[in-house]
């Protein structure tokens, strides 16, 4: 249990471009324990999405090492559920079947997991929408379906790449609450990529603050707030954490000083 589930050691990534090599991120050292919720917050282009994709085995890293569950990441990870920035619905499948896609592809027992899928849809306020087609749903509902799809097969690890990036502020708040509740029930090892400071503080046990190019970890902050955290009852310390992260960004020139 003491061994971290996800371990990044001196991880870096370089791209070769026409104008020479570009460093997306470097010297990334991060341990994520089993059942821990970690958020990475940083400005655009700091390489935070790259880190998630490297952990998922979807992009190669060029230095250091990444292990998941003690094994070095060398190919796409499959004991994982990923929520992308876009919901990526298959328009030819209805809502339930989009969730069940995960089960179909993995050739798992449909009869057993259909109940799981229905429960997840219910937990995210989508019961009654099982037979709807994705294009009949709002953006927020589609993203909820993709969260259900990421959880239905019971993966150990949940990766989220700016899942609220394309949503309006109210929907963001609702889905944040959904994610917190689902995470508290399932205790997945979660890595959440975001550019929103309050979102990171609201959801995470630890917030990794990244600086601009080349992406480096500036600070890792423990968020010691009781759960469930409620948006309408945010304690004073929530604002202190947010302000602290904002100050880090200011000192790095990411946010302008007033």
């Amino acid at each position: 249990m003491n061994e971290p589930y996800i371990r990044l050691t001196n991880v870096g990534k370089r791209y070769e471009t026409k104008d020479g090599p570009v460093e997306a991120c470097s010297d990334i050292n991060l341990d994520i324990k089993q059942s821990e919720f970690v958020a990475i917050v940083g400005p655009s282009g700091c390489g935070k999405t790259t880190i998630m994709k490297m952990v998922a085995g979807l992009q190669p890293y060029t230095s250091g090492s990444i292990t998941v569950g003690g094994k070095r990441v060398e190919s796409p990870q499959t004991d994982v559920g990923i929520v992308f920035q876009e919901a990526i619905m298959l328009d030819w499948r209805d809502v339930l079947e989009n969730v069940m896609l995960q089960i179909d592809i993995r050739k798992m027992d449909r009869s057993k997991y259909e109940a799981v899928a229905r429960d997840l849809l219910k937990a995210t306020g989508l019961s009654g929408f099982e037979k709807k087609k994705p294009y009949e749903l709002s953006g927020g509902m589609r993203q909820r379906v993709s969260i259900c799809r990421a959880l239905v097969h019971g993966p150990t690890m949940l990766l989220m790449d700016e899942p609220f990036g394309a949503l309006d502020a109210l929907t963001r708040e609702q889905i944040s609450m959904d994610i917190q509740r689902l995470w508290m029930e399932t205790r997945k090892t979660a890595l959440h990529i975001t550019h929103s400071i309050p979102e990171a503080v609201l959801l995470a046990d630890r917030v990794v603050v990244m600086g601009p190019r080349p992406g480096r970890i500036v600070e890792i902050i423990d968020i010691d707030l009781p759960r469930p955290r409620r948006l309408d009852r945010l304690p004073e310390r929530f604002h202190e954490y947010s302000t602290r992260i904002r100050d880090i960004f200011k000192s790095k020139g990411v946010l302008a000083m007033d």
Binding site: K53, A56, G57, T78, G81, W92, I105, Y135
Partner: protein, 257 residues
């Protein structure tokens, strides 16, 4: 109001026909130059047996050529999108066959295959083949990287990626190619018949042209147009049945936007 609004296209068409008839009557056009729509309609009805027997031949050649094009183009599109090497290998040849004027090859087909259906089928095939390959290939390449990542994270096999993600994503593109090809196939068939035939609507066009039977010639053109329209709408019907989720159909369904 609603009914009148719906009749607008019909009224528009009637106005066009009326203007045509008026021009013919007022300027006393000789029927061998420009027959009026009434004369064309009479010619159509009076010669329905000739139009049907020749039309059947043309439809057969067109459908055979089109089916051949679909049958070759889709596997080829899958092959060129699966292997970059194969794409580079066949692309120059394919481009050559697309760019070479079909009218110029048609006489060659006549020499090789005689006046039967085969040369017409081949011209129809050649002309409708390319848009299907190109649009199918664009469709098969249109899957987003995020969808590919999603598929990988589920541990999809190559076949699953193709069957569950790539192929369904490509269908809207494929159908736009199939629709263009459907309208081209009829043109290809007529070109084939122009070069050498003893039956078919293209043949009938040549005969009526040389006999100055202009009204029947117009009736033949109308018959060709009907065939083209019907084949286009048949493909569209199939599209609606196979990909009801596609955007062009869902807008019509909901009746908004």
């Amino acid at each position: 109001m609603g009914v009148l609004r719906k009749l607008t296209p019909v009224v528009g068409t009637l106005c066009f026909l009326l203007a045509w008839q008026l021009i013919v009557v007022v300027f006393k056009m000789p029927p061998y130059l420009l027959p009026g729509p009434v004369a064309v309609a009479y010619a159509f009805v009076d010669n329905l047996d000739i139009l049907l027997s020749n039309g059947w031949v043309t439809v057969y050649e067109m459908v055979a050529g089109y089916a051949l094009a679909v049958g070759v183009a889709i596997p080829l599109a899958i092959a060129i999108t699966s292997s970059q090497r194969f794409n580079e290998f066949v692309m120059p040849t394919m481009l050559f066959f697309q760019i070479v004027p079909k009218v110029a090859i048609a006489p060659l087909f006549l020499v090789w295959f005689g006046v039967g259906a085969t040369p017409k089928i081949l011209v129809a095939f050649l002309i409708s083949f390319f848009p299907i390959v190109i649009d199918a290939a664009v469709g098969l390449r249109s899957m987003s990287t995020e969808m590919a990542d999603l598929a990988k994270s589920m541990g999809s096999s190559r076949w699953q990626v193709f069957a569950q993600f790539r192929l369904p994503t490509s269908l809207p593109y494929l159908f736009s190619g199939l629709k263009v090809a459907a309208t081209l196939a009829i043109a290809g068939t007529v070109v084939g018949e122009f070069v050498g035939a003893d039956k078919g609507l293209g043949y009938l066009l040549l005969v009526t042209n040389s006999n100055m039977e202009t009204a029947l010639m117009f009736a033949t053109i109308v018959a060709l147009t009907i065939i083209g329209l019907v084949s286009y709408y048949l493909v569209e019907l199939l599209e609606g049945a196979l990909i009801p989720w596609h955007v062009t159909h869902r807008i019509r369904e909901s009746g908004t936007m």
